[in-house]
Amino acid sequence: MAGPRTLFDKIWDAHLVDQQADGTCLIFIDRHLVHEVTSPQAFDGLRNTGRKVRRPDLTLCVPDHNVPTENRDKGIEEEESRIQVDALTRNCEEFGLTLFGMDDIRQGICHVIGPEQGFTLPGVTMVCGDSHTATHGAFGSLAFGIGTSEVEHVLATQTLIQTKAKNMLVKVEGALPVGITAKDMILAIIGKIGTAGGTGCVIEYAGEAIRNLDMAGRMTVCNMSIEGGARAGLIAPDETTFEYLKGRPMSPKGATWEAAEAYWKTLPSDPGAKYDIEVVLNARDITPMVTWGTSPEDVVAITGAVPDPAKIADEGKRKKMERSLAYMGLKPGMAMQDVKIDKMFIGSCTNSRIEDLRAAAVVAKGRKVAGHVQALVVPGSGLVKEQAESEGLDKIFTDAGFEWRDAGCSMCLAMNNDRLKPGERAASTSNRNFEGRQGPGGRTHLLSPAMAAAAAIKGHLADVREFDA
């Protein structure tokens, strides 16, 4: 038996099917989520070679990237989007796979529905043709994004060829101040390690502030691991995890649950386990964060100002900052709270869960969206939407002038009709502020759901701590 192992080491070891002399490994994949954008070419590959899906029982399919978030009953207006969604439906029929179609209440963003259904479990390996698959690491599942060739590989063999990543530990010590959320925490982490800080690594998040998060918060943190360069993020499973999973439709039941839980309790990293890289943050130093630029590492406190490229010594970084500020239409030294917005988006696999909507509703309640702002609230799944409506959140939002939509990826990547026009600026709870991400020429400021609601009401970026509940 080797020495003390990390959570990542344990999951890796348990899934090793084969290891070649050169270190290349074949690992088994327990859970495969499939959506309409990155799968059609993979299914074509299977058809062309006469291969089948090896384990339909481990595969769950859902359309999310392209789906409209209003007037669903009319179907998908745009032809190309409709073709992609229809192709997924046909592929599921042909290969015998479970599909949560557009008219199914369980439909939603794949990274929201996996946990919601109990498809996501601790200790499993999980993949999807989507980089935000890291979300599921919140459950202590080794979950990462793959490309379409690998989607085909998993469909055909239920395995992947991999080399083992490095272990990285990000520890957030102390308790988060009141009003500071998981989104602020992960933005602060990315600001510290940089957008390539986790390249080649699996990040394990630990420490008091992580431990204190609910599952939605943990998912928000793990979700953006890829924005820090890491393919996967992990949080050790504990009572909070088990509590969340118990009774979910696909969670184990009865004696099987007992056996599973006993196994899951063996997963946390052993005392003395070694990490290749360790980073420590103090939760007390974290404030509400926003991004100013076109990379998720371009973060600043809401009380801060747009940075000045003249103060950057490194030429490459200075050029990048100049380009970002020109794209964003911002001047160095401008207070972040003076940045006016045109649109607000609450949604995406980062922040569209019931807890996110509740946090935004607290700010929205009894207030009005600024006259010049269009504000979209897009629940992560049909079930999240249903839950929110049963709590009256939809009414709070619509009374305040927010639009209440149907579930999907929506304006996070603007593959449906929800998008920014050139030059428009959004306060967005999504995960990427890349150039053109939310529409060609669109400008994105990433922030938490409560901060997004505050910005919608003020009409400019604002400090949510100045709002009374």
Partner: protein, 205 residues
């Protein structure tokens, strides 16, 4: 998969850091259900203006680089999404080799699955190659995978490292799935073992 052995061609310099997959190909061009036809959308925003007309200043729009098959670029190339449309767009355009200080993990894997070679080199060597590449149509590099060597336009050589398994697959144009299916018995016995040991893993429907 297409074999990659040796490649001689024009190298285009694109000295920007953190070129993300949305820059390589914006999401609105991902709606095809085919693997080809993405070449015209490559670097869309950098390459075309708001009216869809070519920006003459963009490197791949310049006469000398329109047939570039090698790209020399900045660190963290391909960061962001897992879309394999990013390497498909490069490949469809004709770029078969990208040289940078580092690449994002998922993009790196995806490119190799399409028979493309990605080379990591220290920044100082990238700076040299970028200068070489700025010499337009004279900037022909030869990339020899077997020898793990780039020959610069002046005949100078630069060695590079590569994972031996990735090299083996590229040189032989091997299909990953075919290779893995040769291990079918091992996969089968793993499944049997786990179905007993961790029954909650199977048949989730």
């Amino acid at each position: 998969m297409e074999k990659f052995n040796s490649l001689s061609g024009v190298a285009a310099p694109l000295p920007m850091v953190n070129i993300d997959t949305d820059m390589i190909i914006p999401a609105r061009f991902l709606k095809s259900i085919k693997r080809d036809g993405f070449g015209p959308s490559l670097f869309y925003t950098l390459r075309y203006d708001e009216q869809g007309k070519e920006r003459p200043e963009f490197i791949l729009n310049q006469a000398a680089y329109r047939k570039a098959s090698i790209l020399v670029t900045g660190t963290n190339f391909g960061c962001g999404s897992s879309r394999e449309h990013a390497p498909w767009a490069l490949d469809n355009f004709g770029i078969r080799c990208v040289i940078a200080p580092d690449f994002a993990d998922i993009f790196y894997n995806n490119a190799f699955k399409n028979g493309m070679l990605l080379i990591r080199l220290p920044q100082e060597q990238i700076d040299l190659l970028t200068k070489d590449a700025e010499n337009g149509a004279n900037a022909t590099f030869t990339v020899d995978l077997t020898a793990q060597e780039i020959t610069r336009p002046d005949g100078g050589k630069i060695k590079f490292d590569i994972d031996p398994f990735k090299k083996h697959c590229l040189l032989n144009g091997l299909d990953d799935i075919g290779l893995t299916l040769q291990k079918d018995t091992k996969i089968g016995s793993y499944e049997e073992k786990m179905t007993v040991a961790q029954p909650w893993l199977s048949a989730v429907r």
